[in-house]
């Protein structure tokens, strides 16, 4: 099938290059196919399992059968059952909103949950709360799906057998009676911020004074709190004030991506990324690309283990420049580590910038870095006058503490080699005696005796994610474990397998208690600003789960509480009293503001010095970094299909994790090489064998530009062996066409390589493994656009913006290209297609996306999925290019001439090399830029004219709408879409399970779990097979707003929707407020103001399609003195074309005048 190719302008040889993948650079046939076709060949054809011929056969058969049953002739009798007793606030068909919060180890996230008829269907940020102001993150959005996850544990289990709540409570009461003062009782909890939890914990500890309390979080080491304690005192933590900082240095701190207080942080940070105001400047040193690194103005690649050395080099220079004695003393006590010479100039210039902005500078150190490095960071902040200005103090709000996991492990019988030897010898000797006496021999256990009789594990999954050396899962065998969890997972039971991997035995803990989801239980929490937030149940526990506080309260009182009175009791303490009004206000607002949102803190060099002295430099050589996953967190979201299918913001990998390495490292390891023609030939999915901390892991690689050399990053939280159908389950439940390395397992588990001492990075030995390449489902080439990168994604520097504010309006070689075409009788900014009438004078909808602020976090994709009932398709289908996300988060790498360095660290290029494409593109130092791409709602939409059945048409208010029930699935529209934003339902993704898409029986069994049906938004059609879909501008919200305006209008003709009365889902979730949507015909609306920006441009404007979505050009704020500062402006919007610009402007004006609609 060939199609007529529109001739887009050629890419300029000397200009910046934008590329999605090595495949694009090399112009591989695979990439060209992605670019040329709307769907990959594989996607358009049926899988070989059912060829076209077979398909016809089955179609005929099903048609015949349909004729036999006259099911369509009788109307199905359906009943409507009203309430017996009216329920307060319940209006059928109207959503009810409740303020609640999601518990999180670093501060509860305040939310507003939308419920339809008593079932939560969407969560969003609480717009009234100062920390997130209505924004949310990926996980909060996706947590909704967990409520309805049919794989969540549904029953009380006694040693693997179904039991009941009554049995459990009876047993528990007995066990507590025997426990006495708590000797031999231990509690293992997650890090929590709930005051009620803390209060009950205290009370239980008073009742069982000898009980052991352990808090464990796989991603929450004690480094940050140790460093805070040393630098400021035990009660305090620091919170960056990113809106106040002019210069920010981040040493491995992913503050816009994953680290502390991110929602608060992103908003404050991105507010300063608008070039119209004073911009901040961000220097980032990190080992792998994070979204923070993507936002950086200057970025230095460094191994995670070398961050300490970089920090010391910075500290030394800052101390010298500021003459700060405190910092100097901390630096002096910090062991001398070889400072990276190659980056000396980079550090030098960045230091100058930081010192020059004293009082407005900020240093952030990643909180998984050693405490010594973090203490150094605090010292630098003190020297730069940041304390109290760009960094404020707050009281610690977490409730951790107690014993360490290691102490618990020892109590459970963990022994060192000597102890084990002694025990085994003793037992062997005793057995020898017994043998001689013909007595039964004693079994030799794998570990020592446990001094713990009853262990309560509240949440978490320690058997899966505890430090490897503890072998925690094995230790559970000798103890009565009461496991409270959402899934019957690795902690609930372990398996023994034979050689073929067949399960021979399952060993269960004593009790498994199903946990209630946070949307099912009463609770409370402390947000990251210290405010007391509510947590309300939206629905009764679907599977009869208990919340943690219910369990603790049962231990205390012997009765099962609703949870409400427990939370009220705490509220009474926090708010100093309770009455109906204050309680109702608390539930309504969702929070009680923090009494003191900032505490005075002072840096203490004496204690900081001590902790700095404890720094131990890691060994040289290859390192492996155990990175938190931006998707599954520590693994707790791994059974969430929305999360699994979300392309990772950086790697664009779905349904897997991989070892991320740099191109140079890949070459070193023999995983690819430069070809003769100067192009790159890398093999994603080749296997690496990694050995670290005495454990081995084989894992495929993903080669990502911008990664530090000799550094392997692997996201934790994958390779679950038994959790659920999505995240991984022992046995072979999910086929996925054999696409996973281990059947039924998603990704690779890196926890066995991770020890308590090396929980963030470890030295590793690595070699190539000679297995056949693994197939990763990477979406980076999906939807590759024709046309030139610099037109699609326009960016410039602050310096350029100040000089030529409208640099993005006119791209040389691009916008006059349209003119050129005009000469050839192609109309400019007019279309071959009839323009829609657009006769709604009140409303014309439009959107603008600010690329300066977009971090690429992809929360919008999940919010859209949740709002618009977008199904998940599975790994196999993603590989075929059939994923259905309405927003495509395009991640480009770009290199420009500035990348050529003239300082000593440049080992590559000279100015003469500019004309060689190969040399201009430095794949190791590539910059990363993000561009969300929803349907652009072109006014002259190419998709509409080719639809043979008018299924996609333009609405009066300027939305390109889809009438699903009209669509017959010709896919002509997708073929004609220059943005490739249309998605096609190749199968009944909503109705079938992921391994049953290919069931040849077309009168198929319907497979969607009942519970999942409850998660759907009732205001959006659930699409079926054979239907095209795409972004609708959340037309359901548009319609609701218009209807509300009309209802209010009554007899008057004022039916205009009030200014910015509603937000679309992606706009609502966006933590950096990069997305603006609104009414273009309302002069007061935010969208009108944003679209007036000089940076506003439309992609592919030269096609004359008039997209309603426009982008605001990305502006960075580089420091001209830096070695990696752009020497050449990274956009074609150059300043030498004033004549052409004026001409073009006039042309635009003329078009606007003459061509109005």
């Amino acid at each position: 099938m060939s199609k007529r190719v529109f001739e887009h302008p050629q890419e300029e040889v000397n200009g910046p290059q934008y590329w999605r993948s090595f495949g694009q650079l090399a112009q591989t046939p695979e990439f060209k196919e992605w670019q040329a076709r709307e769907f990959q060949t594989g996607a358009s054809e049926l899988n070989p399992e059912v060829g076209r011929r077979g398909f016809m056969k089955y179609m005929a058969a099903s048609a015949a059968l349909a004729g036999l049953s006259l099911s369509a002739c009788r109307r199905e009798e359906k009943t409507l059952v009203p309430f017996a007793q009216s329920v307060e606030w319940s209006v059928p068909g109207k959503p009810i909103f409740y303020a609640t919060s999601r518990p999180h180890r670093r501060g509860a996230i305040p939310l507003v949950a939308t419920t339809h008829d008593g079932r939560p269907t969407k969560v969003d940020g609480n717009p009234g709360h100062p920390t997130n102001k209505g924004a949310t993150d990926t996980q909060s959005q996706a947590s909704l799906l967990d409520v309805y996850d049919p794989d969540r544990s549904r029953r009380f289990q006694l040693a693997g057998k179904e039991s009941s709540e009554a049995e459990f409570t009876k047993w528990l009461a007995g066990a507590l009676e025997k426990a006495g003062d708590g000797q031999g009782v231990a509690f293992l909890t997650e890090h929590f911020t709930s005051p009620t939890y803390a209060r009950l914990k205290k009370a239980v500890a008073a009742k069982l004074p000898k009980a052991m309390w352990v808090t464990y979080e796989p991603l929450g080491g004690s480094e940050a709190s140790d460093a805070h304690a040393a630098a400021f005192g035990a009660d305090f933590r620091t919170v960056p004030q990113l809106d106040k900082a002019d210069v920010i240095l981040s040493l491995d701190c992913d503050f816009v991506g994953f680290d502390e207080g991110r929602l608060e942080g992103i908003r404050a940070f991105s507010a300063r990324r608008k070039p119209e105001q004073k911009m901040n400047r961000l220097y980032v040193v990190e080992n792998r690309y994070t979204t923070t690194g993507g936002m950086a103005d200057h970025r230095l690649r460094s191994q995670a283990g070398k961050i300490g050395a970089v920090a010391r080099a910075f500290a030394e220079k800052i101390a010298a420049a500021t003459g700060d004695a405190g910092l100097q003393s901390v630096v002096d006590s910090f062991p001398k580590v070889s400072s990276p010479e190659k980056s000396a100039k980079w550090i030098d210039e960045a230091t100058k910038d930081l010192v020059a902005q004293k009082g407005k500078a900020l240093v952030l150190v990643g909180y998984r870095q050693p405490a010594a490095v973090q203490a150094l960071g605090h010292a630098m902040n003190a020297a730069l006058g940041a304390i109290g200005e760009t960094v404020i103090g707050r009281k610690t709000h977490g409730h951790g503490g107690g014993n360490s996991l290691k102490e618990l492990a020892v109590a459970l019988g963990l022994e060192n080699a000597e102890q084990k030897k002694a025990r085994v010898e003793k037992l062997t000797a005793e057995n020898a005696v017994r043998k001689s006496k013909h007595e039964p021999e004693l079994p030799i256990a794998a570990h020592g005796d446990s001094s713990i009789k009853t262990l309560f594990i509240l949440g978490g999954n320690p058997a899966y994610n505890a430090p490897a050396e503890l072998k925690f899962g094995e230790l559970l065998a000798g103890t009565d474990v009461v496991r409270h969890g959402s899934y019957e997972d690795e902690t609930t039971y372990s398996v023994e397998t034979d050689k073929d991997g067949k399960v021979t035995k399952r060993i269960f803990v004593k009790w498994h208690v199903p946990a209630a989801h946070y949307l099912e239980a009463w609770g409370d929490g402390t947000a990251s600003d210290g405010s007391h937030v509510s947590q309300q149940p939206m629905i009764l526990p679907l599977f009869g789960g208990w919340s943690e506080i219910q369990l603790l309260d049962f231990i205390l009182t012997g009765k099962k509480s609703e949870g409400l009175e427990l939370v009220q009791e705490t509220f009474k303490e926090v708010a100093r009293g309770i009455d109906a009004v204050s309680w109702a206000k608390f539930l309504h607002d969702g929070f009680l503001p923090a009494a003191a949102p900032r505490e005075p803190i002072a840096f203490n060099p004496v204690t900081a010095k001590e902790i700095a002295a404890k720094y131990v430099a890691p060994a040289e050589g290859m390192e492996v970094v155990f990175a938190p996953c931006a998707k599954v967190d520590d693994g707790r979201f791994s059974n969430n299909a929305w999360i699994q299918e979300l392309p990772d913001p950086i790697t664009k990998i779905t349904w897997d994790n991989a070892a991320i390495i740099s191109p140079a490292t890949a070459q070193k390891l023999g995983l690819g090489a430069k070809k003769e023609d100067g192009l790159f030939d890398f093999e994603n999915g080749a296997w690496l064998a990694i050995e670290a901390n005495g454990a081995q892991l084989e894992i495929p690689v993903a080669i990502i530009p911008g990664t530090a050399d000799d550094s392997i990053t692997i996201a934790v939280g994958y390779g679950r062996t038994h959790e659920g159908r999505v995240g991984g389950r022992e046995g072979n439940y999910m086929s996925h066409g054999g696409l996973f390395a281990v059947k039924g397992q998603v990704g690779f588990n890196v926890y066995p390589l991770r020890t308590a001492a090396n929980h963030y990075f470890a030295t590793a030995s690595v070699k190539k493994s000679n297995r056949a390449a693994y197939q990763l489902a990477v979406t980076q080439e999906h939807g590759a656009l024709e046309g030139r990168g610099p037109d699609v994604l326009r960016q410039g520097t602050k310096e350029l913006f100040d000089r030529v504010p409208d640099f993005a309006k006119f791209v040389e070689g691009m916008d006059e290209y349209a003119e050129e075409r005009d000469k050839q009788k192609y109309p400019v900014s007019r279309s071959a297609y009839t323009h829609p009438t657009l006769n709604d004078a009140n409303h014309q909808w439009g959107m603008a996306i600010d690329l300066s602020m977009c971090t690429g976090c992809s929360a919008c994709m999940i919010a859209c999925q949740s709002e618009n009932n977008i199904p998940v398709v599975g790994k196999e289908q993603v590989i075929e290019g059939r994923e259905l996300h309405w927003i495509r988060m395009d991640r480009y790498f770009t290199s420009y001439q500035s990348e050529v360095r003239d300082d000593e660290n440049s080992d590559k290029l000279t100015t003469d090399d500019f004309n060689s494409r190969e040399k201009r593109i430095d794949i190791n130092e590539a910059r990363m830029v993000m561009q969300p791409m929803p349907c652009q709602h072109c006014e002259n939409a190419p998709c509409e004219t080719v639809c043979p059945v008018n299924a996609t048409v333009h609405s009066d208010d300027g939305i390109n709408v889809m009438a699903y029930n009209r669509c017959i699935g010709t896919r002509y529209c997708a073929n004609n879409c220059p943005f490739k934003v249309r998605r096609f339902n190749f199968f009944d993704f909503n109705e079938r399970q992921k391994d049953k898409y290919f069931r040849q029986n077309l009168i198929n069994e319907k497979g969607m779990a009942e519970t999942l049906k409850l998660s759907k938004n009732p205001n959006v059609t659930v699409r079926m097979r054979g239907v095209m879909e795409k972004c609708t501008f959340c037309v359901q919200r548009v319609q609701e707003a218009k209807i509300a305006a009309k209802v209010k209008a009554k007899d008057s003709s004022n039916v205009k929707v009030p200014t910015d009365a509603f937000k679309v889902a992606c706009q609502q979730v966006c933590p950096s407020e990069a997305i603006v949507f609104g009414n273009l015909n309302d002069p007061d609306s935010a969208i009108v103001k944003v679209k007036k920006s000089e940076r506003d441009y439309r992609v592919f404007d030269y096609l004359g399609i008039k997209p309603r979505v426009s982008y605001l050009a990305r502006v960075t704020n580089p420091n001209p003195n830096m070695p990696d500062a752009p020497k050449h402006v990274p956009t074609q919007g150059n300043d030498n074309n004033d004549g052409q610009r004026e001409k073009w402007k006039k042309q635009q004006l003329a078009n606007a005048e003459g061509g109005k609609h």
Binding site: C73, R75, E77, K78, T79, L80, V81, P82, F83, A84, Q85, S86, V91, P92, G93, K94, D840, V953, S955, D956, D957, I959, V961, M962, A963, Y964, N965, R966, N1019, V1020, T1021, T1032, V1035, Q1036, V1038, Q1039, I1043, K1046, V1047, A1049, K1050, D1051, S1052, S1053, N1054, V1055
Partner: protein, 248 residues
């Protein structure tokens, strides 16, 4: 040997064709008519768990539609009344009527009365009651004279064509807002009354109603005059070509 086929046999194929043709036409006609929603849907009158008479309640007693269907003006759905609403009268009235047994059971058990749904739009249609009622489209437009039905049945086809007829010509249905729930109300045919309703003088000048007192106005014409007035007054412009108005 005599001929097997008589002369008249020549016409047999033609006759067969004619008969077959008639059959085919008949069959087509039958499908044409009987397979349409007009036939399959209009008149759908399932038996309900309680023989509730709208004729009695809405017609004779004169209870406003919105007393029971209380959210029709605020929500997309027009709700069925909860058992509590029924019991607010029937705990006093007709206390022992055996026909009300399902209601009393529902009230006692807390499980609502399973009424059989009559009016139904397809799943991909998002109909909103509140916007229609608040802009002057009466219940009667889609539901017919429910106040005259002993057992409710579907009176209108509720097909897309049915919706579009009105969306394209809203003046055929618009009426004063205080009359939306008065099912029997029609536009006044007396010129003076009509003029005062639409706020105009009688006369022939522009801006006046071109009628004389005592003129005969047909009900359809009266509705048109009134509907056009309200259409212009309220700026009614229902989605007629915008699919997203009803399909999301």
């Amino acid at each position: 040997m005599p001929q097997i086929f008589q002369r008249g046999a020549n016409l047999v194929p033609l006759k067969i064709l004619l008969v077959l043709g008639a059959f085919a036409t008949g069959a087509m006609g039958a499908v044409w008519y009987y397979f349409t929603p007009k036939y399959t849907k209009i008149g759908y009158q399932p038996s309900q768990p309680i023989p509730f008479s709208h004729k009695l309640h809405a017609g004779q007693i004169g209870i406003d539609c919105r007393f029971c269907h209380s959210f029709a003006e605020t929500a997309a759905h027009s709700n069925l009344p909860s058992s509590q609403v029924c019991m607010s009268c029937h705990s006093q009235v007709q206390k022992d009527n055996p026909k009300l047994e399902p209601l009393r059971q529902a009230w006692a058990s807390g499980k609502g009365v399973p009424w059989v749904q009559i009016h139904k739009t397809p799943d991909h249609v998002y109909f909103n009651h509140s916007v229609h009622l608040n802009r002057g489209v009466s219940c009667v437009t889609c539901h017919g004279r429910v106040d005259q039905m002993d057992v409710v049945y579907q009176a209108k086809s509720l097909t897309m064509e049915f919706c579009l007829d009105c969306h394209r010509n809203p003046e055929t249905q618009l009426r004063p807002l205080d009359k939306v729930a008065q099912l029997g109300w029609t536009a006044p045919t007396d010129p003076l009354e009509l003029a005062s309703l639409v706020g105009k003088q009688l006369g022939s000048k522009t801006g006046e109603l071109n009628l004389k007192p005592g003129d005969k106005v047909s009900p359809a014409n009266a509705q048109k005059i009134m509907g056009e007035h309200f259409r212009d007054l309220r700026g009614v412009h229902p989605p007629d070509s915008n699919c997203a108005g009803c399909h999301r």
